[in-house]
Amino acid sequence: MLTLPAFAWSRPQSVEDALAVLAAHPGECLIVAGGTDAVPNLKHRLHEPRRLVHLGGIGELRGIRAGDAGLEVGALVTLTELASHPHVREHFPGVVTAAAHVASPQIRNMGTVGGNLCLDTRCTYYNQTFFWREALGFCLKKDGTRCHVVPQGKRCVAAHSSDVAPVWIALGAEVEIASRDADGAVSRRSIPVEAFFVGDGVHNNVLAPGELVTRVLVPGAAYGLRTSYRKLRPRAAIDFPMLSVAVAVRGDAARIEELRVVVSALGAKPRTLGGLDAIVAGRAHDAALAEAVGAVAHKQCHPLSNVPYDTDWRHDMVPVFVKRALADALGVPA
């Protein structure tokens, strides 16, 4: 069996305690929530922390609350809970589809919303055992100096692979981050999920060491958006996305007010398509409109060989999946 490395273990009972543990062992900790990403990565020696900080004991991070101000989803909410929550099912079908498309039922029972957001980027040259990576030649994301996907590149372009994040972005959701300053004072700030991600595959979000994701907040303005999610994967379960498309539309098929399309599993961060307003605002959904949106997506999205399966084919699939996701959101046939 692949072994786990040796590590110490903390199980704080509050956000404050968790931040204190992280502060007490700077640079040595790995946060673990459901562990469905962290544990395989530990076995592959992609993370080599001295200490695991398990969030499971922090009650505050659990629970989904819906109010006038919007929807609050605790970082420890499991994907199963998210996908089966009646309020979420009623208002945000795109979130439900995305969460239900993650891995398998067992993994969704363990995997959390916070962990999903902070999911490490993925690459076919990286998510492998130590032996395999050594035989291949280590890459710059871990233990090496060069990238096998873009050999001339200086940057890791491993794929952002969270299924739910693109939908959060399409909804304009925010993520709440808790941090602790040098004096031990704890503070929280919220930023758009879109701004949470950065284009560096080694560490693709703005979390500083010692910080924690506590909640995802969907603003009240997101109610009334029609959402959908499409995922390209060879199998109907288990597989990570080879391409993912989240759509949020205001309006309906007869008249689209506003359209947001987020595409991911390309590079290190999800891509929000630009220039859609000019094409769609105030218009009805028809074949020509769908075609035009697809063409924008095709132009702006460039799959890489970080993810398996032919990149040209995946590129060809971008407009197909965008058009289908749009039709899903509007409830019309693709």
Binding site: L2, T129, R146, H148, P234, W313
Partner: protein, 826 residues
Amino acid sequence: MSDGKPTQAPGTPPAGMAIPGNRTMPKEDRLTPPVWEGGRAAPPNGDFRMIGKRNRKVEGLAKVTGRAVYADDLVLPRMLHAKLLRSIHAHARIVSIDASAALALPGVHAVVTGADMPTHFGIIPWTEDEQALCTDKVRYVGDAIAAVAADDERTCEEALKLVRVEYEPLPAVTDIETALAHPEWQVNEKAGEGNISKHVRLEFGDVDGALAASDHVVEGDYWYEGSTHAPLEPHCCVAEFDSTGFLTVWSSTQVAHYLHRDLAKVLNLPTQRVRVIQPVVGGGFGGKSEPFSLEFAAAKLSMVTGRPVKILYTREEVFYAHRGRHPMRLRYRTGMTADGAITGTDALVQLDGGAYSSFGLVTTYYSGQLLTAPYALPAYRFDSTRVFTNKPACGPKRGHGSVQPRFAFECQLDKLCEKAGLDPIEVRRRNFIGERTKTVNGMRVTSNGFLECLDAVERESGWAAKFRRMPYGRGIGVAGSMYISGTNYCIYPNEMPQSAVQLRLDRSGRATVMSGCSDIGQGVESVLAYIVCEELGLDLRDVRVVAADTDLTPVDLGAYSSRETFMVGNACLDAARHLRLKIAQTLAERWGVAAGEIVLANGVACASSDPGRFAISVKEAFQWAEARHGTLGSVGWYQSPKLGGEYRGGTIGASPAYSFTAHVAEVECDPETGFVAVKHIWVAHDCGRALNPVTVEGQMEGSAYMGFGEALLETQRYKDAAPGHAFGLHHGPSLLDYRMPTSLDTPELHALIVESVDPEGPYGAKEAGEGPLHPSIPAIANAIHDALGVRCDALPFDPPSVMRLLRAGEARANWERARAQVGGPR
């Protein structure tokens, strides 16, 4: 030849099973199976009470409740763990190995290298080209070099990083073309020349003449990428060398007997001081049918440390151990008359064997020999070449050697039917070879239920209303096949039985069956229990099966080539009938009735003429018989008759009975993405007689599933890598990257059992474990053609490949043309 060892050159087949001079020939009567009144197929006690009924498997409850003991569940006092150091190069000379730093690590107990057990071994005695651990060269990424025993696995891993190996990298070849183009980059020094592992060319009839005279000839070039078995349980073993010099190895093997022999040979121990035990095995599919580095390494480390040693492969290591399906390039020319009779077939086959021979000699023959039924091939030639490459060795996977050619050939047939404008099921019927006949390459065919198989899939699938009649994107396809029920020879030449059973009855009313046979989930232990129950009127709970323990059980060659039910089933039937006869005679004597009147059923022994008067429990009957005859025991064995063609290699592919299968697959394709969804597979299989329909259906469904996975999803490729590093690295040796279908992907599988009742099988049974896989892949390919008008000639049919085909050709036009042939709706 005096030492009884084969002396042919490497790669020479067992030419007619030449018998060295000093060997004792079996007596004629030993080779003649006992003749039973009513025959082997008949029920012994009037009606079948166990056979043919939906019974549980004997080990089923233990498995589903987590109580079955697999190799990794074994924990012995003072047991150490060990791990193997594997090569990161595809091809390199080992200059030096320095393990001193590893040995110095606290918790490390021993390190062994190839020098500690350099003897070559190999499953086929003519091609012994493997070492437990490499001594001078590594031949693929993952080839094993050294083994470390320590207190726990993590310490082993740390120690492995401290073993310093100096390599001198060599040019590596990872595909067939390069292997042939560069004989000087020799992968395996035991090759006759260059990188040729084995070459076979056989011709039956006038192929060129037949093709020239054909109305239609189709040429096809097919690529079968290869696949691995991926059993749920990774390879695992525990070895214990005790203070008396006795070695016990528990291993997740499917060939305990061959492992027994090779352990003794490589470790230089007398065979009678080696014991191999197979615990419950979590699937094999051919991936555990030869010895592997772990068994030798664990045993050697136990000998060095004096402590039990366990080795459990990681999933990644299972991919390196491999022995999966060979990648094959298959070029076929097939001819047909205007009315659909096959005229001739010319096959040129190249096999990518990986770094070692494994079963490759046999695979090379099988790639041609097993194509000659269920259709009559009047003229047939095949030319097959296996090459060595710097990749994990290929070997036998479910449907050994014949799944790939079957894919090519059944696609050829579909193309010919299209050319001739004939219905593919009708054409298959027209070419039926028949029963009680001989194939063009001299294989004896006994029972043959292929026509019933075709009828069943045609009827159940609603073929007539669907073929060429569904909207664009939906399609249906058919394919047929045959497979062996065991082969007629042992892997090493000898005149001893291939299967055996010792049966013991107890005055407590219990029966114990002992056999070296190997249950890897397919259910052979259950088969033995059913047979004993049927013959002796026992309840399933009153039979114990002791299997695959070389100290306790008579030799059986193991679970491969679908031999167990047929061969050990026959052995068991004989053993049980011998005892049944003794019991019947005892009761007949006491009661003054004829022995033929005695019935043993449902726990009761009675005389059918007057059961009210003459009836006791079976247990009492055992006691009466024990009193009359002494301790009750019997033996039965199986040895196949002399079979096969009168030419070199003519025995390879010869089987005492062949199974037959037909599939119809129905697909739904997405022309915008290239995704193919298989909706249904109807599997009709002639298994002779279904001893337990549930397990037969399980094998049929599992086979169709496995073929479907290979057709659409499983990708067995090797990556290029950074300069200065090894290419030939498996693209993703994990169950995440090697995509086997999940339950959501799996089509509805409809198992349709056909029973031809074979004259030589136990109760008429033939195999069901491998045959039903064969037509899966071509049936799907043919269905995709019906759906989209493209021909998938290369595996896997993944969406990018299907899209490429859709774009390259005039798919839609082809589709229109094909459907125009069949005419309007029926």
